[in-house]
């Protein structure tokens, strides 16, 4: 139990996917303009990263490893993740329209987000078992969501700020993300 708690704390706070691992920067910068949008994105990311962890773990350990085809990891993962998300998108539209209305537009956006592929590859690199892989996927997406929500709050403030012309837009957003990352350094050492 402690192991999993530490895993979650580690992935959410200490090695935050966005702020220390630099995964998923594009949606982090792109979908942080308005809180409701960011919330939808968080839901979609949590769902996709958790289930992608499960799916790719199965792919790796039930197909690729037994066949000795570990080097096909990248291509197989990306194909399967992309198709999986697409299928979920289609199925959700059909069977759960309200859910699709809330999360649907974000699903294709994160199909091939590097955080999703990243968590799958990391699961393999860190040699996690199935449950650990799924928990890690979930925790990583929680970390992403936490960073995204905090950043969205900041972004709404910064969008009303008055930076010099050259720093308007992405530049000041990056500096803010840097300061946020600086604050997150405080969690260093929280989990060994």
């Amino acid at each position: 139990m402690t192991e999993y708690v530490l895993l979650i704390i580690g992935a959410v706070l200490v090695n935050n996917f966005v702020l220390t691992r630099f995964l998923g920067i594009c949606p982090f910068l792109g979908v942080s303009k308005k809180l409701p949008t960011a919330l939808g994105m968080c839901g979609a990311v949590i769902f996709v990263m958790t289930s992608a962890s499960a799916v790719t773990w199965a792919l790796q350990h039930l197909v690729l490893v037994p066949l000795g085809l570990g080097y096909l990891q990248t291509i197989a993962f990306i194909l399967v993740i992309a198709s999986f998300v697409q299928l979920v998108d289609i199925a959700m539209k059909k069977f759960a329209p309200p859910l699709h209305a809330a999360l649907g537009i974000f699903l294709p956006l994160i199909t091939t987000n590097c955080a999703v592929l990243g968590v799958s590859v990391l699961n393999v690199q860190l040699q996690y078992g199935f449950l650990k892989a799924v928990v890690f996927g979930f925790a990583a997406s929680l970390g992403f969501s936490l960073a995204l929500l905090i950043f969205t709050g900041l972004r709404e403030k910064i969008d009303r700020a008055n930076p010099p012309k050259a720093f308007q837009g992405v530049a000041i957003a990056l500096v803010t993300a840097g300061l946020l990352s600086l604050a997150f350094m405080g969690f260093a050492g929280l989990v060994k």
């Binding site: 066949l67 085809l69 197989a76 194909l79 399967v80 289609i90 199925a91 539209k93 059909k94």
Partner: protein, 262 residues
């Protein structure tokens, strides 16, 4: 060799499964969107300036495809986008006449006195509703740069207390026209260079009191201009931009010095 075969089978199989699954799933889901909308949207420049009168480029794209809206409304896109749109929609269209915005007021700090010291939000709308605006002339440009801020391309600059549009930078989106609380900004053909730089509808004496370069309604220019290219609207001379006007006499003879060539 076994390795190669295994690899091909695995990845090929993955492709087959994924492709098959997607194809099957796609069959459940009839594509509702008109693909042409996406295509047209892709052609449009994505500036979302609203100059076409629709809420952003996507809305305009939808209007073009579904409502047969004219394709020549995108001013920022220019001829290049127009030809692409023509190719995509099969419509043939001429570019709408190139129009640019102009601020019809010449009452800069030199010429138009203020009636009080305004202390508040530096915004024309706010100034206009606080004591009626600090300019003595109730029609003149307040110079608080609301239009300049509204301009998506930074083509408006405040010079000596009044707004000036750079005609070459203007993309004729009309954002400034909608913003000006005193309705001073007009879209005029780029080719027309002579303007009456005043919008005051007051009578001569009142104008004179409020501004040194106001139109006092003397009608001299209206008489001089051929083809009624300048008409009187009440006490204000107004250029009819549909007509050719290239007559330096109107500029020289204007007693208010409010007709200029830009």
């Amino acid at each position: 060799m076994t390795m190669v075969i295994q690899t091909v089978l695995t990845i090929g199989g993955a492709g087959l499964v994924c492709g098959g699954a997607l194809a099957l799933a796609a069959r459940f889901l009839a594509v509702k969107e008109d693909p042409r909308v996406a295509e047209v949207d892709g052609i449009l420049p994505g500036a979302n300036c609203g100059g076409c009168g629709y809420a952003g480029c996507a809305a305009y794209a939808e209007a073009i495809v579904l409502e047969d809206a004219p394709i020549n409304l995108c001013a920022p896109g220019g001829a290049e986008i127009l030809s692409k749109l023509a190719g995509a929609t099969g419509q043939t269209a001429q570019m709408a006449e190139h129009k640019v915005a102009i601020v019809l007021c010449g009452g800069d700090v030199e010429n138009a006195p203020r009636k009080f010291d305004y202390n508040g939000v530096a915004d024309c709308q706010a100034a206009h509703t606080t004591g009626g605006g600090d300019k003595a002339c109730p029609y003149g440009c307040l110079g608080y740069a609301s239009c300049s801020r509204a301009c998506p391309v930074g083509a408006i600059e405040i010079v000596d207390g009044i707004a000036k549009v750079h005609p070459d930078l203007c993309i004729s989106c009309g954002a400034c026209v909608r913003t000006c609380p005193r309705a001073l900004i007009k879209m005029v053909p780029y080719a027309r260079k002579i303007h009456v730089m005043c919008s005051s509808r007051d009578k001569g004496p009142a104008v004179k009191k409020a501004c040194k370069v106001g139109c006092i309604g003397c009608t001299i220019c209206a008489k001089l201009a051929e083809d009624e290219a300048i008409k009187m609207q009440g006490f204000l001379a107004v250029v009819d931009y549909d007509k050719e006007l290239d007559n330096d006499a109107v500029i020289e003879k204007c007693p208010g010095k409010c007709i200029v060539r830009i």
